[in-house]
Symmetry: C2
Subunit: 337 residues, 2 copies
DNA sequence: TTGTAGGCGTTATCAA
DNA sequence: TTGATAACGCCTACAA
């Protein structure tokens, strides 16, 4: 593989000149620059990014840490969409993405932070990690600039991107109320998730506003899992025939609730209205199609890239980006009366 | 950031000793090794992968080139699943993945091959590219070891992973025939795709075996697109009320056909049986749920990693891996008579 | 068992 | 406008 030295030799100049010619410095005559360019091309020269990084101390690389990336059966496109947005924007900044995953088969000895330091990533995006994940602490304390998805931590070079979970849930529940529902249960996710707390807030808020008292036992924990939500719903719906609607903290759980309904002979939306959260692809194809709170996952990715770049460029920033949600109305809710 | 030099200084030894102690050479006394390890730890030392690469000439990095990665609305989990399998296996080999995408907003000046050379990736996986993609040629000619997904090219350090498309299609159609169908149309993808040719082969084979003549006009081109398949089906189904089944070269197209059926008042599967291909997540949730030819995408990814490693380690290999498919029977096919 | 010295490919500093 | 030279952090003959 050709190096600057090869070019220099062939052009009869020094490596310095070659370097500067190729990097567009203006203290090199156009004539030699042209000659050098030509030779570089003919030699199929590509600068060695690593050698460059070594001296500039810039790897032009950002790390993506995804917990549970390798798990099969991740039905929600969430991770992937965020990754796309991220990659798209990062490449605009001239950065490439490098992927790390935690749960490798051979219990990886190296820690996240170590991986990042070895590769000298300039920043990190963390996604899908739980609030109590030990990796989380490790990375935050590592002083590598870092942006979290859906975990609200800010600090020196630490920020996060999320959507307006309170408002999203609020609007969903208010929509149900406007459709005449009052007996509205809430299938929430596990407590380790930041978003769960926020969405509960939104639920409570909408209920309070409508003057509907909230029964704590009507807030279920589906652990963001389809089968768990199904089982929870199975139990709950049998005990509470009076419920007319259920708001779910994820589409996957909403699908679980649908399954439970079907099994119990409860027709959606006639006997039970359901609203989900996320707007995953399946939502549109479910039967009936699912009314849900949509998050723009692609945008979450690019916003995360933007925020990280702010850190890297030393820009002043609050370190938080809260994106809007959008209620997508389909066929899983019926108007009461 | 701590370097070997720092450690050496603090331990009162040379950098050589540090390097060898940390890399597990046995010509260093256990006592000094222990001391060096301790100091390294206390200094939070991580070796600089780039400096190491520079001298070992091994980047421990493989590139992933995905065409159309950033396109929103890629409903099939395909790319993502493959990526997961790839990443999972690669990390077992001690390799990290670096992502490149072509269609960045700012028309990226650098070519794929250039990107790969700059980052000194040891090998490349190419996915989602069309047979006539200029990038394809470029990469293949670049003499970087490379594995293609679903494109049958082999050569020096070039190989591919695919599934048995002929057999997959054959089994799908034979299944339809066993259910009593004879008037079976085929919604194929575009001709630029390798898999389309193969699946057509399988279709023809099964039909011939059953002694059912194939009418070329019954083979449609849905371009692997949901709306295109829908429109094609709309036209075709109106003209051919005698068709009882349609085999589709992708689940997405099968969904398009379902939409068309619905619009025409043709009930699936009572009036029209449908078999798809891929087994994307939506297939299970569609209404009726879709009988389809499943491909293990995760496994395709890990097989690709394996093959690439064979190249990198100079192992003898045919350069092709053809994985099995698996007919998943759900509710979109009815038994005739 | 340990240390010295050279080099990987690039950029940066300084002098010519 | 150009060139010599010294880094960057690491590994690896070779010598001690």
């Amino acid at each position: 593989m050709a190096t600057v030295k090869d070019i220099a030799k062939q052009a009869g100049v020094s490596v310095t000149t070659v370097s500067r010619a190729l990097n567009g410095y203006d203290d090199v005559s156009e004539k030699t620059r042209a000659r050098i360019r030509e030779i570089a091309e003919s030699l199929n020269y590509s600068p060695n990014a690593m050698a460059r990084s070594l001296v500039t101390n810039q790897s032009k690389t950002i790390g993506l840490l995804v917990s549970g990336l390798s798990e099969e059966g991740a039905k929600d496109h969430f991770t992937f969409d965020v990754l796309n947005g991220l990659n798209d924007r990062a490449s605009e900044y001239g950065y490439d993405l490098i992927l790390f995953n935690t749960n490798s088969a051979k219990q990886r000895v190296k820690s996240y932070a170590q991986l990042c330091r070895e590769r000298r990533v300039e920043g990190v995006i963390l996604q899908g990690v739980k609030v109590d994940d030990p990796y989380l602490q490790e990375v935050i304390e590592s002083d590598i600039p870092c942006v979290l998805i859906d975990i609200p931590i800010t600090g020196k070079n630490v920020g996060y991107v999320t959507t307006d979970n309170v408002l999203g849930a609020y609007e969903a529940v208010r929509y149900l109320i406007k459709q005449g529902h009052e007996a509205i249960a809430f299938m929430n996710g596990h407590e380790k998730a930041y978003v769960s707390g926020k969405r509960l807030e939104g639920y409570n808020q909408a209920m309070a506003e409508a003057g509907v008292p909230v029964d704590a036992s009507w807030v279920l924990n589906g652990e963001f899992s389809e089968p768990v939500a199904r089982d929870q719903a199975l139990r709950f719906l049998q005990e509470h025939r009076e419920v007319t609607a259920m708001f779910c903290s994820s589409d996957l759980m909403a699908l679980g609730v649908m399954q439970a309904s079907k099994r119990l002979g409860v027709t959606v939306p006639k006997d039970l209205s359901i609203v989900g959260y996320d707007d995953i692809v399946i939502a549109e194809y479910a039967h009936p199609s699912l009314t849900t709170v949509a998050q723009d996952k692609f945008q979450m990715g690019s916003a995360a890239a933007d925020l990280l770049m702010d850190f890297l460029q030393g820009k002043e920033t609050s370190g938080e980006k809260i994106l809007p949600t959008n209620l997508v109305i389909r066929d899983s809710v019926t108007r009461l009366r």
